[in-house]
Symmetry: C2
């Protein structure tokens, strides 16, 4: 298994764990020098915090673990295309490479929506790699929302 | 003094306090039914957290205080035009009205940059009122960065 696939598998595991907690199943890991320094699933419901998306939770964890404000040289793996808030947070954290799974035409901000990394108000853009394990990532979300509709 | 001016004064006080802690002097307050339910200055350096902008810190405080994920009906006062990350967080939190002081052509995302609230991927837009105490808000930032350059 390639490193990329390995780290995306870890992000998928975080997404699955989030779903099991009744959170929208999205997961993220932050990797520096091949070591996972932050990992999280969506925690918005648990924490009553709309900013606790997987990417931001993982970035916060990494910054806390490393005792630094920025994550220069670190890579972020996330199962879904980051939203506008997270795309900007990833830029502020100086993430080197962003790997994401499924695209999000409704809420994404990397290859959809505001395409933040191509904007003049974006002062650091990561390299972006998309479509990694996208079917698994998308299936997790589809199943989750199907189940929600059945419950409702 | 109008209510608007009063709450912006509180945001300015948070900005000043942030500057005194050597943080970029930006402040925010969240108000629900004329009561301040969250207030914060920038805390990125203190917390080693690039997401700890004044708006996000104030929103998190308000959500924690109220024990809820969204702030429907609440208003947010902030001394500077929100950045892309915060503009999206304000939308996610369902803030009713956004009052801001100075514009930020370099990093703003409301009346500059990605103008998030006019985008199809924005699913809730607050009413926006700008230019409130903008000179005081801008002066705080100008003085702070002038001092930084002198120190450097």
């Amino acid at each position: 298994m390639t490193k990329t696939k390995h780290f995306m598998e870890l992000a998928l595991a975080e997404a699955q764990a989030a779903g099991a907690r009744d959170e929208v199943p999205i997961g993220a890991v932050v990797v520096l020098d091949n070591v996972v320094v932050g990992k999280a699933g969506n925690r918005t419901r648990e924490l009553n915090d709309v900013t606790a998306h997987a990417e931001i939770a993982a970035i916060r964890m990494a910054c806390e673990a490393l005792g630094q404000e920025r994550l220069t040289g670190a890579d972020l793996y996330v199962t879904l295309e980051p939203c506008t808030m997270c795309a900007a947070a990833i830029s502020f954290a100086r993430i080197r490479r962003l790997y994401y799974g499924a695209e999000d035409p409704k809420g994404g901000a990397v290859d959809n929506g505001v395409r933040f990394y191509g904007q003049p108000t974006c002062h650091h853009a990561p390299e972006v790699y998309s479509g990694i394990a996208e079917k698994d990532a998308a299936n997790l979300l589809t199943t989750f929302f199907q189940m929600k509709r059945t419950e409702g």
